[in-house]
Amino acid sequence: MPEPLLKAERIVKVYLDGTVALRGVDFEIRPGEIQGLLGENGAGKTTLTKMISGLLPPTSGRLLLGGVPVRLHSPKDALTCGIGMVHQHFALVANFTALENIALGTGRPADQALRASIEELMERTGLGVPLDTPVENLAVGERQRVEILKVLSRAVRVLILDEPTSVLTPVETEELFNFLRRLKEEEGVGIVFITHKLREVLEITDRVTVLRRGEVVGEVMTRETSAKELARMMVGAEFRARGRRPVELMTEIPVEERRVGAERAREPALVVEDLHVPADSGGEAVKGISFELYPGEILGIAGVEGNGQTELVEAICGLREGKGSVRLRGREILGLPPLELYRLGLAHIPEDRWKYGLILSFTVAENAILGRQRSPRFLGRLAMLKWGEVFAHVRELIERFSIQAPGREAPAKSLSGGNQQKLIVGRELSQEPEVVIAAQPTRGLDIGAAEYIRDILLEMRDAGKAILLVSADLDEVLELSDRVAFMYVGTFTAITTPAEVDRETAGLYMGGMKG
């Protein structure tokens, strides 16, 4: 067995706020091997790699580089030691060209000599990108290649990739995998591949370390394991404990017996017609989308993130300009301000809950009436808030949505992510909306909270609400939706029912094949 390139021993990380992210983790990276690091959100994957790449110091424990203990004080130290990381949210300067971004990483000026060496590197690795276009105008897959080139230009021996496929289409993913295989075989680089996707772990890695709640719960050779075993390790015993219908079961129900058939006859709650939404970087993010959303159904929008879902939702919810038509129960609402939409019965569970969902430094009570502060229930004479009513409302929300909060006067930032989301969901649903737009409603939540939110969505559906669910989690969309649309670069490639698609077809739709 080859000597490990890098060894992490008994790594403990306690954040300043007391959160224990890692509880004594051992980890090894060997040359010419792709090492999977598997775990759910919050399992400690990112924390571990941040320490290996010099972004965070460990609370205790040590790193051994080729058998010698090292301390990494900055990403620069790590790069000097031959450790490079490709971050999930690319560490690129948006208005710099690819060449300038790579120059930044190499510490060299963006001159002809650098250009020549990068061109040579692109030739050797087969990773081609336009060098003189600002990276903000490049596709995500290209940006990732810039990121990888940036790291490789530093002659790294350890390459860490944090969720590299979360933004890629299946085709791009395949290209990335081929490249990684070449890199490990031809250059003997040790690669750490972080993901929560089991299929990818099985496909690309040689060895897998599974993290759960800051501990290593398993380390296995990929060829000796199975998806089921890995899943069990990853989520632990509590997985699917509450008996919701799994996807497989739903697919066996004949299409005509599902809700869709029954609901189609009714009037749609929301009609979107030929909606165009401009993108921030110029061009169109949404290119003429039309659909109808009926009461009592969940219409899921699946797709790799960055294909226009965010812009679509923001246009419908009055947060972004768009052209075309959006009608709520027959009334044109495109361009109306969010407060007005709220009053008309459109609730929005925003994708970015810290930007649009909550004011983190405000109290739970204040957040519970955000957007409803002018309703007669809460607003008294002389523009004074009726705090008695507000507190009663908070109590209702906390009880009904089992929100764990230190108190109604505690700042929203003191709540866990799951409870913050419950607070938003509770607030948005408490007004009995007709239409609910839920964007990435379970992102970043622990399993318990995620399941809870999913149950609430199903409950609302059964209560006759029309729900638009946008999620990058394909399993979630297939599991909850009555109908599902696949979004790819601003258009729907298919609208169908979950029963009619298997994962492979879904992958094709998400990758741009028309249904």
């Binding site: 941040k50 972004l55 990403p75 971050h87 300067v93 710099f96 120059a103 000026p109």
Partner: protein, 299 residues
């Protein structure tokens, strides 16, 4: 207006352009790195005062050095507080301005010249004699500096680092760029240029120190940065527009007839109003660095 008038207004404009352009070009570097220094006004005033003292102590070369040094020291403080200690840039800047007002008023009083402190002719920076009048050498520096800064920002590694820490400090950090240090140096450089501009005002252009002498030029320089869209070469245009109207206003105010009819304070508003209009005209179209004004914290 005769040809002579034209030349004299042009010369006056060039001289009035210098403090704006130097200060703005320096501030472009600081802002590209993500620090927004509204204390420039204070730096101009402080270094005009200290520069004059330096010149009186050791001639104009020392005066210029002391002016630059004053700017650099203030910039260093500003950079330490904001790049390293993650302070509030607006408050720090306001603090610099208030400190300068008090310090210079006190200093002038201590020197026994509370209203007007004359800088003796023999310690002033000698002007270059041309057929149409004397021209300060700093004018040439101000004409060249924006080009040098343009070259620095766009052609050198350090310039790349400056732009990166202002646009995306996380990315710069991950790439091994020392974010705080780059920001500190960038803002210190900018402040040092403002210091030079201040010393220029007292020991070259006006030949005097008064406590109102900055006259909002630090703020006009900030407006010029906006007008330029953070492109250093355009600070020449911004500086010249202000300088031209500044000189024109002085000229108009002194036309016989006008002098008696309109109070000069009224005419003096012209350059400020023009600047305001020009800046409002471009403000929506300027793309500022994404991390401008935002302290960088690793996690």
């Amino acid at each position: 207006m005769t040809l002579d008038h034209f030349w004299s207004i042009l010369f006056l404009s060039l001289h009035a352009m210098v403090p704006i352009t130097l200060t703005a070009a320096g501030e472009v570097v600081g802002e590209r790195a993500g620090l927004f220094n509204i204390g420039l006004e204070g730096i101009l005033l402080l270094s005009a005062f200290t520069g004059a003292l330096g010149a009186e102590a050791g001639g104009w070369p020392l005066g210029l050095l002391v002016g630059i040094g004053t700017g650099a020291v203030v910039g260093l403080f500003f950079g330490l507080i904001n790049a390293y200690w993650k302070g509030n840039q607006l408050i720090t800047g306001v603090g610099i301005n208030l400190f300068a007002l008090g310090f210079v008023a006190f200093g002038l009083r201590a020197l026994g010249t509370p209203a007007f402190h004359d800088v003796p002719r023999d310690v002033r920076l000698p002007a270059i004699q041309t057929p149409v009048g004397g021209l300060s050498p700093i004018v040439f520096l101000a004409l060249v500096m924006p080009f040098a800064i343009h070259w620095f920002l766009n052609r050198t590694r350090a310039g790349l680092w400056v732009r990166a820490v202002g646009e995306n400090p996380e990315a710069a950090d991950v790439a091994g760029v020392p974010v705080e240090l780059v920001r500190l140096l960038a803002t210190t450089f900018g402040a040092a240029l403002a210091g030079l501009a201040g010393a220029y005002m007292s020991i070259s252009w006006m030949g005097a120190v008064t406590k109102e002498m900055a006259a909002g030029r630090g703020f006009i320089a900030l407006a010029t940065v906006v007008f330029s869209g953070l492109r250093p070469i355009l600070t020449l245009a911004g500086g010249f527009i202000f300088g031209f109207f500044d000189s024109l206003a002085t000229w108009i105010a002194n036309i016989p007839g006008v002098k008696e009819a309109i109070p000069w304070q009224f005419v003096s508003m012209i350059p400020y109003i023009v600047t305001l209009l020009v800046v409002t005209g471009v403000i929506g179209r300027v793309r500022f660095p994404k991390a401008l004004g935002v302290p960088y914290r690793r996690e």
